[in-house]
Symmetry: C2
Subunit: 270 residues, 2 copies
DNA sequence: AGAGCCGCTGAATCCTTTT
DNA sequence: CAAAAGGATTCAGCGGCTC
């Protein structure tokens, strides 16, 4: 067993190691927001990705991780879990949700819309699929899980302008801002712009964790954790909002990329 | 026990009765498409709608209905199930999906987007919720369930124009049409237009069942079934596509409204 | 203007295992 | 041993983007 390796970058922490054992050593109730996009096929050895045993293993593994997440989370913390179904595992997100019922409350369910056609106009990018039975996949789930179920959020933090401007004076805050709701249009970065940066199979757009943190509510002393840091998108989001981020990743190569991305961002801003 | 009462309207059938017992008498494998939006709080007596017993009852009841749906469906048929979570029952759609796993395959999962903000512009209407912990609900689920899991669908049937028109000559069909994907923007009818017609708590827009039927593929001899007809929106969709519809509804008042809607539509067209 | 690229593809095929 | 089942590899196609 390799010991976890921690490094500091600005106010952030990048930890190379297994998130399960790293979180076990973290202080209880020390994290405000957990935002992550867990990998499908990691953390366990399995034969075929279609057999039910591997799914069972995956779910058990994820459940264990989520218990550790609950452990390090504050009682008024938020856990944003990004996950998508696939044609091979269409039930996975739902099975997982049912399992997490004994650990968390499902406070909100956000649909991350990567592409949508409104009338004749298509917004966003998507990866077309060649099939006679499946349609293109243009959305993923973002589950907002909390320990208590009644965690106060900052609805206007990730808000949008009113369509009907007469609403502005009617609200006490007096801003042109309303709650966005649970459909979040965030286009995927294009293929090219992605390769131009750093390649990672499951890089979600930085706007996604940013919006999650904003929805929970930004405070200067808050801590954001991503147990599956990948190339560090969540840390980029934390840095852009001026809050402290902790990222855990087992793959050394990804940690290197995350370090590079975060460092170049820190140099730009200050 | 009141006997079911069947009436014909054009090529369609409106049946007043309990869908469970009505479907039991229908011929096996006689339906091409089932599209429905089941009610949350019907079909069983329950105390508080937050206690787990009532949820358990609801799920058991829904499971029984879905078994009957599978019975009357053709092997290459499609079942489009529209359901939404609520703040009181956020887990309901996922629990139901897990239960249905032993009856159906989940071939596609469509997100019905009622409203979405793209940049500064908001499309569609929504019912704002005043809460410090919940965001507005702007989407619902449409689960595409099939018996075999490999049912061929008409991806272009519910298609949209290409963004990049150079794709047109590249496709053999030569049309300006691509697969829409699994994010369906369908604005809800506004409050005004709803009350102006006929009131029903869970009336979905006619475009929703229409698009479902189109995605399955329209054939002149096909049969569409809605076991929870309500005010007959699915039958309106069937009629607009020129296919036969069967609607079952236990509430006499709703059957009356459905009859009226369908009749006025039949008079308009011919 | 047009050709090629890319993907937490899917279908088809090949090639192992089992019965 | 033939046949069937199923895993693993290959192929092909979608559709917006980039060159």
């Amino acid at each position: 067993m390799i010991r976890a390796r921690r490094e500091a970058l600005g106010c952030h922490s990048l930890i190379r190691g297994d998130c399960l054992s790293v979180m076990r050593r973290m202080p209880i109730g020390s994290v405000d927001v957990v935002v992550t996009s867990p990998p499908y096929n990691l953390g366990l050895a399995y034969r075929s990705y279609k057999d039910s045993l591997s799914e069972e293993n995956y779910l058990t593994w994820m459940e264990a991780i989520c218990r550790k997440i609950a452990r390090v989370m504050r009682d008024d913390g938020s856990f944003f879990l990004n996950i998508a179904g696939s044609s091979a595992q269409p039930w996975l997100p739902f099975e997982l949700m049912v399992r997490l019922r004994e650990i968390f409350n499902l406070q909100n369910h956000i649909s991350w819309v990567k592409s949508i056609a409104v009338g004749e106009i298509t917004y966003g990018h998507f990866k077309p699929v060649n099939s006679s039975r499946y349609v293109n996949r243009n959305h993923e789930h973002v589950f907002h899980l909390t320990k208590r179920g009644d965690v106060e959020i900052d609805r206007l933090g990730a808000g949008v302008p009113f369509t009907d401007k007469t609403n502005i004076p009617r609200r006490q805050h007096g801003e042109d801002r309303r709650c966005r709701g649970d459909t979040w249009y965030i286009p995927y970065e294009t293929v090219r712009s992605k390769t131009a940066r750093f390649s990672h199979p499951s890089t979600f757009p930085v706007a996604l964790p940013e919006r999650c943190i904003r929805l929970h509510g930004v405070r200067s002393d808050m801590v954001v954790l991503d147990p599956f840091m990948g190339t560090g998108t969540s840390l980029i989001a934390a840095e852009s909002l001026g809050v402290r981020g902790i990222g855990i990743e087992s793959d050394t190569g990804y940690v290197r990329i995350a370090r590079k991305r975060l460092r170049s961002m820190l140099q730009q801003t200050g």
